[in-house]
């Protein structure tokens, strides 16, 4: 497995040989920041294209076909359209908060995005409480959504924002509990370390029953966390037209839109990282030839394949089910997911204490 750490270290030594260490680190930060944002945008474009194609396939349609082969340039055209649109400011809105809100949402999304280990040595934010940092960073997004709803001076937006507040804060609990279940199994909170521990088998296999339950809970709660159907109440288009971003236009709306799709990717890639081994190839103990072939496939391909598979799963769910009602969403969380998650955590502790895992 190729370690990108060698490459990054080599760049670092080259830079320090011509400049002071502080300047080199500053330069590296700038380069990484630019690359991160670039990747963010690329992922967003891929996600939007995928959403349109996959949802079309589920609905007996073809999806975009006109611009570019199989409509592949469609999203890029949409981005340019969005960029050229006027940003309309609403009368009687709280201008400062109104303009600030989309940036808070995108900031939270980028910070969470930076936590994802893409391949060996390709981790941007990677420290010993990485899981905690990820949870904290991704929760900032709620503030942005609440602010957007509040400052728009629209009743629809306000209802949407209130719904999302209730929903996202509740579901964070389940996301945390299911990640915690895996943390119990790994005894580390560092994402790169979590991946390394899965070299001899992904946690969904190693942790068997409690890991599978945690995985399902994580998928449900994660789906709700990013406001995707069937949990898309904050922007339920048939009830609130567009929920908290009803009054946004142009690139401000674009930021919400992009953040929503990348958040879906983040949730999926975290699922891939902690349950499906991240960039770690599929290894079957005893089959050395098979393992060698698997190792030949680069880590980032493994990672993206797993992440996009989970994205596809979530899209499949979104395009199948009707939307829940606000009280049912909270019932599902507090009467089903949280108790089951707690029991599952207990089960995992028992499994770990008695070494029942593989």
């Amino acid at each position: 497995m190729f370690d990108f750490g060698i490459l990054t270290n080599w760049i670092h030594t080259q830079l320090t040989s011509v400049m002071s260490e502080g300047l080199a680190i500053f330069l590296e930060c700038v380069i990484i920041g630019v690359l991160l944002l670039l990747l963010y945008v690329i992922i967003a474009i891929i996600m939007i294209y995928m959403e349109r194609k996959v949802c079309a396939a589920f609905q007996c349609r073809l999806g975009p076909t006109r611009v570019g082969p199989w409509g592949s340039v469609q999203v890029i055209c949409d981005v340019f359209k969005m960029l050229t649109k006027e940003i309309i400011t609403i009368r009687h809105s709280d201008k400062f908060l109104y303009n600030l809100a989309p940036y808070i949402v995108i900031l939270a999304s980028v910070m969470a995005f930076a936590c994802i280990p893409i391949s060996r040595g390709l981790e941007i934010l990677d420290f010993n409480v990485g899981v905690l940092f990820f949870m904290a960073a991704s929760s900032i997004g709620i503030v942005g959504i609440l602010l957007a709803g509040w400052s728009s001076n629209s009743k629809y937006s306000l209802i949407g924002a209130m719904r999302s507040g209730a929903q996202m804060i509740s579901y964070e609990l389940s996301v945390g509990l299911s990640i915690l279940t895996i943390v119990v199994l790994t005894d580390t909170m560092q994402f790169s370390e979590i991946v390394m521990r899965q070299a001899d088998g992904w946690f969904i296999f190693k942790g068997h029953i409690p890991a599978v339950i945690a995985f399902v809970i994580y998928l449900i709660a994660g789906n709700a966390e990013v406001n995707r159907g069937p949990f898309d109440l904050p922007e339920a288009e048939s009830e609130l037209t567009a929920g908290y971003h009803t009054e946004y236009s142009g690139m401000h709306f674009g930021l919400f839109y992009v953040a929503e799709f990348v958040n879906l990717f983040i949730i999926s890639s975290i699922a891939a990282t902690i349950f499906l081994g991240g960039w770690m190839p599929l290894h079957i103990p005893g089959l050395d030839g098979f393992n060698a072939v698997m190792d030949a496939i680069p880590g980032f391909i493994w990672f993206f394949a797993k992440a996009f598979f989970i994205v596809w799963l979530l899209m499949w769910i979104k395009w199948t089910f009707p939307r829940l009602r606000i009280d049912q969403i909270l019932t599902l969380e507090w009467k089903y997911l949280v108790p089951i998650g707690l029991l599952n955590l207990l089960l995992m502790v028992i499994v770990v204490v008695f070494k029942l895992h593989f």
Partner: protein, 541 residues
């Protein structure tokens, strides 16, 4: 109308001043002073269903209303007419407390004829703007009074009502609709879930609905007024544009009404074709109902499944009629064209195709735990309310009221085919949904019984080029896709109708929304609106 003699005697006993007038279907003309008393007596006798309330300008006789009543227990029908000769200040007693469905209908009559209904709690205009001048369906209305108004329309927040005082005069009172502190949100007129330009002003407490105020008329086209200046064949074209998902049935009703007035019997072949077409249209409408309900609830997959299957029905219809939505098929005394040579084959193919597809809907939506949780127990409409509001069609049947016109007053071939009237007792959203699913099956059954036996014969009877109806009034109803669609026709012997009223299937459905959506959530309102299955052009006419 078999028991007219019996009813005549009973009415005479109840109210000696009621006069039987024989023209057309016939009706009892009651003086205004004794109308309210008679209405109360009839209501107590079991006439609990107000089929239709039609405002009429009777010229010299004044402004009045025609009430079509039905006793749901015995199936007896009765027609009452009453008029106030004082054209300037026409007042009729309101019957909104006897039949809840009268509420919106009286507002409509006030809107178009300026009849003041004494005791009505909320006599605002219903379809027209609050600043409209004059009453357009009166025969002496001056068209030039209302040039195109580009001003914004204000919201009338005070509901006027006219109440009788002890000395016989009446006073105008005003009641506020909403308190100052209420959180009132507009759902519509442009809203994805109102299925057209309908507007609800919804008072909310958190997510819970406290009160709904229905605003209608955004696409009112004045079809009833238009019809008064059209010849009878020309009026047909408008029916397709009322409830566009019941184009066949609407037109069937009007054609049947005119044929009844002409005394024309159509051939059996025409009856067969009309029945099959009505049922195909019903399947089309119910599929769209499922599709739109699911879309409103967020299950977009089913939306496309519904449209995919509906396309097959439309293809069959288009092949014979030449139109997909606006079919212009029924004509007075027949149909526009004979069925297409491939019609029988295609229809049978469709029946074979559709049956297994129903299972797919069951799998993906009916059985789905989320859908069930959202639909079961929400928006319960009791049987009494359904009858009182006149909420016919799937909505009424879901509440346990066997209100199918096809069974109550069989027309065309419905008396001779074997089908089950689907009724549920729950009256909630899920029952309303299930009624439609089951009715698709029944419609397929009906078509299957008829499709192989279409007899030979003319598809268009000989009709004079200029049609004049004798003086009189007639009422004909068919079971539309979403309830009883009635046509009330009053003729003065001309080649165009004196008054043509379409009993909207959607208006009673919308009128009950305030009752059943109270204390529900916003999301429930969407589900309730979806399952009531109203079509706005049909309400607005």
């Amino acid at each position: 109308m078999d028991n007219t003699i019996d009813i005549k005697d009973r009415i005479a006993a109840m109210e000696p001043s009621a006069v039987w007038s024989d023209a057309g279907d016939g009706m009892f003309r009651v003086p205004v002073s004794s109308f309210r008393g008679l209405a109360e007596k009839l209501h107590n006798e079991g006439f609990d269903f107000l089929r239709s309330l039609t405002g009429i300008d009777w010229g010299e006789d004044g402004l009045g209303c025609v009430y079509h009543l039905e006793n749901t227990a015995t199936g007896e029908n009765i027609v009452l007419g009453t008029a106030d000769p004082d054209r300037e200040n026409a007042c009729l007693p309101s019957v909104h407390d006897l039949w809840k469905g009268a509420n919106f209908n009286e507002r409509e009559a006030y809107d178009f004829f300026g009849i003041k209904f004494i005791g009505h709690p909320d006599l605002r205009r219903f379809f027209l703007r609050d600043d409209w001048k004059g009453y357009p369906l009166r025969k002496d209305y001056d068209m030039s009074l209302n040039p195109l108004n580009m001003e914004n329309e204000g919201n009338e927040d005070m509901a006027p009502s006219y109440e009788m005082t002890s000395d016989g005069s009446y006073i105008l009172k005003r009641h506020p609709l909403f308190d100052d502190q209420e959180y009132v949100i507009n759902i519509g007129p442009q809203h994805p879930a109102t299925h057209g330009v309908l507007r609800f002003r919804v008072s909310l407490e958190g997510e819970t609905i406290k009160k709904i105020d229905v605003h209608s008329g955004y696409i009112h086209r004045g079809i009833e007024k238009l019809c008064e200046s059209c010849t009878y064949p020309q009026t047909l074209g408008f029916t397709d544009r009322l409830d566009y998902l019941g184009a066949m049935q609407n037109r069937h009703a009007l054609c049947a009404c005119i044929e009844k007035a002409m005394g024309l019997e159509v051939s059996e072949r025409i009856q067969y074709i009309r029945t099959i077409m009505d049922e195909l249209q019903r399947i089309d409408s119910h599929l769209l109902f499922i599709a739109c309900l699911c879309q409103d609830m967020g299950a977009l997959e089913v939306f496309f499944l519904g449209f995919r299957d509906r396309e097959k029905v439309l293809d069959i219809l288009e092949q014979t009629t030449g139109g997909r939505l606006i079919q212009t098929y029924n004509t007075i005394g027949g149909v526009q064209a004979d069925i297409h040579p491939e019609f029988v084959k295609k229809t049978k193919e469709f029946i074979r195709y559709m049956r297994p597809k129903l299972k797919e809907y069951d799998d993906i939506f009916t059985g789905n735990i989320i859908a069930r949780n959202r639909l079961i127990g929400t928006g319960v409409l009791s049987r009494e309310d359904a009858i009182s509001f006149g909420a016919t069609g799937g909505t009424g049947r879901a509440s346990g009221w066997a209100c199918d016109v096809r069974k109550r007053h069989p027309y065309a071939m419905y008396g001779k085919v074997d089908f089950k009237e689907i009724t549920f007792t729950e009256g909630d959203c899920f029952a309303r949904y299930m009624v439609r699913i089951k009715e698709i099956e029944q419609s397929l059954n009906i078509i299957e019984q008829l499709i192989d036996n279409i007899p030979d014969g003319e598809y268009q009877m000989k009709v004079k080029p200029v049609i004049k109806l004798p003086a009189g009034s007639w009422y004909t109803a068919v079971e539309g896709s979403r309830g009883e669609f009635g046509v009330f026709l009053e003729s003065r012997g001309d080649k165009s109708p004196y008054r043509l009223k379409f009993r909207s299937t959607g208006l009673p459905l919308v009128s009950c929304i305030d009752t059943i959506a109270r204390d529900a959530k916003i999301a429930d309102l969407i589900a309730i609106g979806g399952t009531l299955d109203y079509v706005v052009p049909d309400i607005d006419r």
